[in-house]
């Protein structure tokens, strides 16, 4: 069953208005966000994921505020929210296996190492990555491998809501295919997945809903196909930009 995840009157301003009185109920499994301020995509996702505290309003998962302040109750909330960063995020002074075990041990201390290894190797296989890299440090791996590992680390915790910041950045076609397969599998399992993509329209075309933001304000939400046929110049310009890969 899908979790109840919603944004209520969320506002946040840095140099630009990133979100302006934004309210939305994320009730579909795969949701894309298109904004006219591409530089702020990451911030939009971070606010919705509870990594940046909004100036106004709240983001609630099953009625609980998701903004993190590390108390016990929020640990349970964070366990349900995953975030795949655009790049970086792997702990550079740890091996890949240790990188996986840090969040895994934190959220599932009761699981045995065998169980954890089984899950890790299963996910590594699905991304066609060799187990040999588990003992390497992130700096020794290629950008695309590191990107795939970010996905694996997030999936290990089995979050109910996953944010993807430019999921296909630095990804060769093989890894992109594996990511897509996982995203579609999770969609079937009713995991809410929210993404921003500035280089590829493919995921927007697959999305159940695409949210359109203009200066942080919700303009429209519809399928990508519906948006492409919109009469609005603003909507058309955004959809054609992403289709041309120029967003």
């Amino acid at each position: 069953m899908m979790k109840k995840f919603e944004a209520n009157n969320v506002s946040y301003k840095k140099e630009n208005q990133i979100l302006n009185d934004f309210s939305f109920s994320f009730d579909k499994p795969l949701i894309g966000i298109l904004t006219d301020q591409q530089d702020e995509n990451t911030n939009v996702l971070k606010i919705l994921a509870g990594l940046i505290e909004p100036e106004g309003g709240s983001i609630r998962l099953e009625g609980e505020n998701v903004y993190t302040s590390f108390n016990k109750k929020e640990k349970a909330i964070r366990k349900q929210i995953g975030f795949v960063f655009q790049h970086g995020g792997l702990l550079s002074n740890l091996t890949i296996l240790e990188n996986f075990l840090v969040p895994y041990d934190f959220h599932f201390p009761e699981k045995s190492l065998n169980e954890k290894m089984k899950k890790i190797t299963g996910l590594m296989d699905s991304f066609e990555l060799s187990g040999g890299i588990l003992s390497e440090r992130p700096a020794k791996l290629t950008l695309s491998m590191r990107k795939a590992l970010l996905f694996i680390r997030t999936y290990l915790i089995e979050p109910k809501i996953i944010f993807y910041d430019d999921p296909f950045m630095n990804c060769p076609s093989q890894i992109k295919k594996s990511i897509l397969k996982q995203i579609l599998k999770l969609r079937e399992e009713k995991t809410i997945q929210i993404f921003c993509d500035s280089i590829d329209a493919h995921l927007y075309e697959l999305a159940d809903t695409v949210i359109l933001l203009k200066q942080g304000e919700l303009i429209s939400s519809a399928t990508f196909k519906e948006l492409k046929n919109s009469d609005s110049d603003f909507v058309n310009s955004l959809t054609s930009k992403i289709l041309e890969g120029n967003l």
């Binding site: 990594l51 590390f70 909330i77 840090v102 969040p103 915790i157």
Partner: protein
């Protein structure tokens, strides 16, 4: 003109107030997360062990060299100067006072600042830049619990152990030099030394090393985590961590030494 000066002063005071609040809340957060550290041993233990290895074990060579050299120099200088005043018997007292009460803690702290304080600030600063800290937050792991508390504990424990080691090595260095010029059995040397050591010397050395370790780790971690996004901020914060740690260590040393004589 006067208005401008008062406005600048008010701004400075506001900035100082904000920074003080930020540092104080950081220290309180460390205290709060200390209890969680033991509950989350599985993920924090590795960081603690690595910190002790780096700050404590890997510094042993440098500490040995400095301690033996300083102990030797004190004996050399003392045995050259003191006899001129007919005060040769004060040599042991001076060695104990300088090594145990003052230089042991101070020099160990300086070495830890140079090696570990700068390393902690640089490492944490780079972790912020590469979104590693944010990724911990995204998993609900407090950066203070996972990154700062093990470092604070590691530095405090290492500082304590290295200070004891420095004191022993420094006194041994003194004996080595004394032995070259006027052979004196090790037991005789140390029995004369121990007769000069008071409980207060050991207590102040212990308290100083605890506080020095805590301050170095907290200042360095705080400065490292203050990096916001650019890698150019990392060396700036590292320098700040080193300078502030040095200042705090000297200030604490003055206060404790003064208290030792006043109380």
């Amino acid at each position: 003109m006067l208005q401008k000066i008062s406005l600048a002063l008010i701004n400075r005071a506001e900035l100082f107030y904000t920074k003080t609040i930020s540092v104080v809340s950081f220290v309180f957060e460390i205290m709060y997360e200390l209890k969680n550290f033991f509950l989350q041993r599985k993920i924090t233990r590795l960081i603690l062990i690595r910190q002790i290895l780096f700050t404590g074990f890997e510094a042993l060579g440098l500490i040995s060299f400095v301690a033996i050299a300083v102990g030797g120099i004190i004996i050399l200088e003392g045995s050259a100067i003191l006899p001129n005043f007919g005060q040769s018997k004060l040599l042991y007292t001076i060695l104990v006072i300088i090594i145990l009460r003052e230089l042991g803690g101070l020099l160990t702290a300086f070495i830890i600042i140079a090696r570990s304080g700068s390393a902690i600030a640089t490492e944490l600063g780079n972790m912020v830049v590469h979104q590693e800290v944010e990724s911990l937050v995204s998993f609900g792991i407090s950066p203070v619990l996972y990154l700062v508390v093990p470092r604070v504990l590691g530095v405090v424990l290492s500082m304590l152990a290295l200070n004891i080691y420095f004191n022993v090595a420094g006194l041994l260095g003194g004996w080595l030099v004394a032995y070259i010029f006027a052979p004196i059995p090790l037991l005789d040397f140390f029995s004369k030394l121990f007769s000069e050591i008071a409980v207060g010397d050991i207590t102040s050395s212990f308290i100083k090393s605890l506080l020095f370790g805590f301050v170095i780790a907290v200042v360095s971690s705080y400065q490292g985590l203050q990096v916001s996004f650019a890698s150019t901020e990392v060396p700036q914060r590292t320098i700040k961590a080193v300078v502030l740690s040095l200042s705090w260590v000297i200030l604490i040393d003055i206060i404790i030494t003064a208290m030792m004589y006043l109380v």
